[in-house]
Amino acid sequence: MAALTAGEVVARIKSHLGFAWRENTYRDTFKFGGPDTEVKGIATTMFCSMGAIEQAAAAGLNMIIPHEDTYWNDRDDLSVVDADPLYRTKVELMTKHQIVIFRMHDHMHAQRPDFTWVGLTRVLGLTSDQETAPQSHRFTIPETTLEALASDFKKRLGDKAIRVVGDPRAKVRRVQVGVGYATPSVASPDIDVVVSGEQQEADGALDSPEYVLDATSLGIAKGWIMLGHNVSEEQGMLEMAQWVKSFTPEVPVQLIRSGEPFWAPK
């Protein structure tokens, strides 16, 4: 039997997506290695960190499918980083382990369902019967306090550096889930809490931290829970691994967690 190549894996990803590949994507491309690289095993990961690369190599997996960038900028523009010695170190690590990297970001979010939401809501314990409509990512849960909700989310995710804005005692039950940097606005009258990954604090399209601080001053129940970018989207890379495994039966496929990058002070 002919060896499985990275190009063949990508061809199968494209044919199983259920919609046409967007050729204009700058994100979902090979970041290291290429289509001819022989694939011994596949790792999905959130961030293509050096730690994730080492873990994948140790598990005998040389094709990595990360959700995010490899070279510390979204476009993986090498001109931003190639003067830095760490870029050379990372390239040497990948060369040593004959790594091939193909990013899955835009097409992962365009898939239905979008695995990032599937994975996050699975771990948060939010169920489809609580969702207001399929794919609304909006859940009505039994009334609780912002503090109890955030504490529960923290435990379920093992999220050490979780951050919350709002009155801890605010009574909440309508939860809007976001992932990564796609954080929904907290200003909608239909929601009490937004839980998501990462968002700029100010000077954006709607600055939720300031909005929640002011709502709190006014006695309006609002909360904003930031899980961190890695924690919010990493969960769905398990679903991604399962999906890729379904059409690459000849090699092992598994989730390698890049894990939360932060620790928090006591």
């Binding site: 804005v165 200003a187 009258p189 100010a202 001053s217 990058p261 620790w263």
Partner: protein, 309 residues
């Protein structure tokens, strides 16, 4: 606007009847109160940065012709900061970040995304209780809000770095170079984190990358929101970068990879607002020198974040 009576002025200034000379001078000071527009004009003349044609800096609320009774500077004009300004009888609020929750700083919420159909404009957003309450509070108290961001952070030396280093007790360092690097007494990363948390009054917004036992002697400051290019420049030259807001797919992953590669490096993210706040104390001090006839006070926003158990 509400005119401040002489009796009120004396109370505000905290001067008893015994302090006759000050009382006698008070009405004259009041009569000479500059308007918000006059103060802004003076800022533009004195800031030392050519005024940009495209800028977020400008009046966001209130009447620029209002005579100013006092100035409050802040990183972000939250309701609680505005309430404190009113308490201090200051009616000009100078804010680094937006007042109405977006770069657009519009006093009404952004319009809904869903239009009525092709070619029709999006429907007007329904009234939002938070926007409405803030608008009404500002109007009721005759406040004037002016945003000062692009030109303030363009000054040399960078006032955000000045403010943050002073708050962290790094200002007197003799080894400061390039305005962003400071020596600290040799310590460990976890001890530095505890010190930073205390000095900045951080509640739950701090997040750290690096070995807690790392020896730290050289610290770099990146207040505000900064791109990967800034971290690439600064982190290789110091043991620890203390940053406001960096992108997690950029600087955070770069710092994590450095640590994995065995480099003795670390990153402390303190949050954007917390990092910018001390720079507005510098602003209040500076305003005291160019607008001496009006008192300028800094009001801190505090750390917006907390962390559950």
């Amino acid at each position: 606007m509400k005119r401040v009576s002489r009796r009120e002025f004396v109370t505000v200034a905290g001067i008893g009847a015994a302090a006759a000379p000050f009382v006698l001078r008070a009405p004259k000071l009041h009569a000479a109160a500059p308007t918000a527009q006059e103060i802004v004009d003076r800022i533009k003349q004195r800031v030392g940065v050519a005024w940009k044609p495209e800028t977020v800096d400008g009046f966001k609320a209130g009447d620029p012709s209002t005579p100013v009774t006092g100035i409050v500077t802040t990183a972000m004009a939250t309701m609680s900061v505005l309430q404190e300004a009113v308490k201090q009888r200051a009616n000009l609020v100078i804010t680094f970040e937006p007042t109405y929750y977006s770069k657009a700083d519009s006093p009404t919420p952004p319009a809904g995304r869903r239009g009525g159909g092709p070619g029709t404009p999006p429907p007007e957003a329904p009234a939002d209780p938070v926007f409405t309450a803030k608008r009404e509070f500002i109007a009721k108290n005759n406040l004037v809000v002016w945003r000062f961001n692009d030109h303030w952070r363009a000054r040399t030396p960078n006032p955000l770095v000045q403010g943050l280093s002073a708050s962290l007790g790094l200002a007197s360092s003799t080894a400061a170079d390039a305005g962003q690097r400071f020596d600290v007494h040799a310590t460990t990363l976890d001890a530095l984190v505890i010190d930073v948390k205390k000095k900045l009054g951080s509640r739950g917004g701090m997040r750290i990358v690096g070995d807690p036992h790392l020896r730290v002697q050289r610290v770099g400051l990146l207040p505000g929101s900064t791109p990967i290019q800034d971290t690439l420049k600064l982190l290789p030259t110091v043991d620890c970068v203390i940053a406001g807001e960096v992108r997690e797919w950029e600087s955070v992953e770069y710092a994590r990879d450095l640590v994995t590669a065995g480099q003795p490096k670390s990153l402390i993210a303190i949050g954007r607002i917390v990092s910018e706040d001390p720079g507005m104390r510098v602003c209040a001090d500076w305003l005291g020198t160019i607008v001496p006839e009006v008192k300028s006070h800094w009001v801190t926003v505090g750390d917006p974040y907390w962390r559950p158990l």
